[in-house]
Amino acid sequence: MSSRIPLVPENTVPLPSLKANNGLLSWVSSVDHKQIGIMYLIITLIYFLLGGVEALLIRVQLAHPGNDFLTPELYNQLFTMHGTTMIFFVVMPFLIGVGVYLLPLMIGARDMAFPRLNALSFWLFFFGGILLYYSFFTQSGAPDVGWFAYAPLSEKPFSLNKGPTYWALGLLASGIGSVASGLNNVVTILTMRTPGMTMRRIPLFVWMMLVTSLLLVFVIPIITAAFAMMLLDSILGATFFTPAHGGSAILWQHFFWGFGHPEVYILILPAFGIISEVIPVFSRKPIYGYEFVAASTVAIGLLSLGVWAHHMFAVGLGNVTNAFFSLASMLIAIPTGVKVLNWVATMWGGRINFATPMLFGTAFIIEFVIGGLTGVAIASVPIDWVVTDSYFIVAHFHYAIFGGSVFAIFAGVYYWFPKFTGRMLSETLGKWHFWLTVIGFNMTFFIQHFLGVMGMPRRTYTYYDMPYWGPMNLISTIGAMILGLSVIVFVWNILVSLRHGKPAGDNPWNAWTLEWATTSPPAVENFELVPPVRGRRPLWDLAHPDMPDEPDAKIV
């Protein structure tokens, strides 16, 4: 093999370009997984900006005690919409969108298993979001009962406006799209892999998307059914969740968190997948302990189905129930810890190129570990009794979802933008974006751990001028403004680089998975020829025929 005979013939025929037909109709009518993926990314970016503006308004209101910048009504609408938007219309669809774009490429397929279903998923998500945001323009305003919409507050007679109805309908629609996406991903991963791409060789991002997709299929129907019951209550006068008429307020919480906690893993597992792609490539080493990283994902997926009541330790379910869910929640720390240590071990001994994707990838490890460790602490029932519903929890889950998922998303955007567009994002602006994000994020949220244990409750439009609360909240607000600035730099970077970015070429990062074996952006059916797959890193094997990952592998 040392004579370096190319295993794939040189491609001399120019591949068809997406630019050939990129009118609006080509997007709206598209069933191409890449176009649909890009549409997900564009729409989620818009929602990210909307949710971000909502967050900044919240922080302005809280900048000092007794502020009357927002009315209590509007404040409650804003924190409800911020949470709903960021979870259902930013992080989740972004990860689904990246998955839809990359899964077929990574496994050497031409498209998803069900391209039309893929388009249906996207449009359900799209119109679900519009339905939710339309509520702002109605007389009764946006939903104002929190992203968790606890009964009976969300129902008559305590909510007489239509906000919660828009909320349930919007999420119902986009949720059905998510189930369809999940099914589509599972079938695609199981049946569309190129020859040689065994389940032991698929990239870790694909493994994590597989587990995430199974979670989508299992848990979204729980909340879909609960939305239907809530709508029956509010529109047809049923009483599922109204204790005054024999219903149960706690039942809603079981349904909501039965979905809601696995949802957290739906938000973080694909992020783990992104990190598991970025860290090896920029460390120039294969992922450490592939089998353990993959298996720990499966373990997290299974455990995540049995931890929901840790959101309900203050409800009064009794100590035996609380102890069960406490232990189950603590166990998640074990597979998660395995992942973190394997990422660190992957970096150990590498030749690390700290380009922007790797900066975000490295910061992800630290920020996510902070969120993860506070997560283990609050799995302990008495600690949860101290900190639940306080700003400590706000800090905790922002470290998990922003410090975790969103940092990974930024890493992923800088990593795959060249593949999506054919151009590199600016490294200079990327570094500005990175440092502003790190400073703004930690300044906003770290101090909230302290506010929480000092006694500041969540979801209040104002607060007493207790000692230090005012200055601490002001620091948090200034941090949020810096974070807002970082997002402006990010969007600016995207807009500038789309036109003037350095041309990327097929494989600018010298990466090893199949998406880098085709043009940037890939042509309509992805590959002229799929390289042979005889290991986990097909492009490494191509570049180093003298030392392939699996020397004994046979050509399939």
Binding site: G66, P72, E73
Partner: protein, 340 residues
């Protein structure tokens, strides 16, 4: 002693127990977890400190490892060689799976023992105190003595009070950070907790479960007193005041019975016996109005009566469109009730 002042751009200021040593950083001033004031809270704070200490050590190890990697394994300019391709090590995987398992086991055992300390079973004991959550105030009842008040809980210091918590509308959550755990007030699902204050003092708390428009202004004051002072307070609360018949206060008493006030409020010794809003019999004894929106002074009470919606938008007490003289009379009546 806790202290807080609540500034509002509407041009009023609420000051509670202003403490001159406010600017010093002391555990007492920081409050909450930093100032546990009951044996239960001490147990929970101990577990929290212990756990946070362990997590800080773990975070420290990871940060140091990553910092070392950043310095040691950064790619040198011009070095395009590929490093040693290391695929993993099963022994190492087993070790770093086993260590967290051991740590989780210890944390779980501590969790169970602390739960038992904080929530010992009550047996057949009748509750000493019943707290009923309303949007957005707390109804406080003492079943054995028959005292009924709101938003301000008096307890004898050092004594374990068994509290039954109910809700009349939506889910609320009772939280006094220095005294103990949070517990939800769930409609149709009564809960019990132990409420103890180790030493006399005023402990501030708030509703911790989002309960609607004025969730922010649903505050709790726990006043822990020596036994004899508590008994004295209880006797005062039980006194049924004589209804004034003369002067401006007598005017107020008549207005109270003829206007809509009595549809929602109780004043013992009169026909007003509704439980929609707080019992006003001994309102003048309480420190705040509107579950912590205003300090309870005659001037503030007049402002509140003139337009409650200005101070607590969305509260169920409407703007009664009272004239200035009507407001004055009712304030005089409510203040007079307590003077006898």
């Amino acid at each position: 002693m806790k202290h807080a002042s609540h500034y509002n751009d509407l041009g009023f200021e609420l000051t509670i127990d202003l403490n001159p040593s406010l600017r010093q950083i002391t555990m007492e001033n920081l409050g909450g977890l930093f100032n546990p004031s009951s044996p239960e809270m001490e147990a929970m704070a101990g577990l929290t400190y212990y756990t946070i200490a362990i997590t800080v050590v773990i975070l420290g190890i990871i940060v140091i490892a990553v910092a070392y990697i950043i310095i040691r394994y950064r790619k040198k300019p011009g070095d395009d060689s590929e490093p040693y391709q290391d695929f993993g090590n099963i022994k190492l995987e087993i070790v770093w799976t086993a260590i967290p398992i051991a740590m989780v086991a210890v944390l779980f055992l501590l969790t169970c023992s602390t739960m038992k300390t904080v929530d010992p079973p009550a047996g057949d004991r009748e509750p000493d105190l019943v707290i009923i959550g309303h949007q957005w105030w707390w109804e406080i009842r003492y079943p054995s003595s028959g005292v009924s008040t709101s938003n301000e809980i008096h307890i004898p210091a050092g004594e374990k009070m068994l509290v039954r918590l109910e809700s009349i509308d939506v889910i609320h959550d009772f939280w006094v950070p220095e005294l103990g755990r949070k517990i939800d007030l769930v409609p149709g699902h009564p809960n019990y907790i132990w409420l103890v204050a180790g030493k006399p003092g005023v402990y501030l708390g708030a509703c911790a479960e989002f309960c609607g428009e004025q969730h922010a202004n649903m505050r709790i004051r726990v006043v822990a007193e020596p036994e004899d002072e508590f008994n004295k307070w209880q006797d005062e609360q039980l006194a049924i005041p004589r209804t004034p018949t003369e002067g401006i206060a007598g005017e107020g008493a008549k207005l109270f019975q003829t206007m809509a006030c009595m549809n929602c409020h109780t004043i013992r010794g009169t026909a007003a016996a509704a439980r929609v809003g707080p019992d006003l019999t001994h309102l003048a004894d309480r420190a705040t109005i509107g579950a912590g929106v205003l300090t309870n002074t005659p001037e503030n009470l007049a402002k509140w009566l003139a337009n409650p919606q200005r101070y607590k938008q969305g509260a169920f007490m409407p703007n009664m469109k009272l004239s200035d003289s009507e407001v004055k009379s009712i304030v005089a009546y409510l203040e007079a009730l307590d003077e006898q």
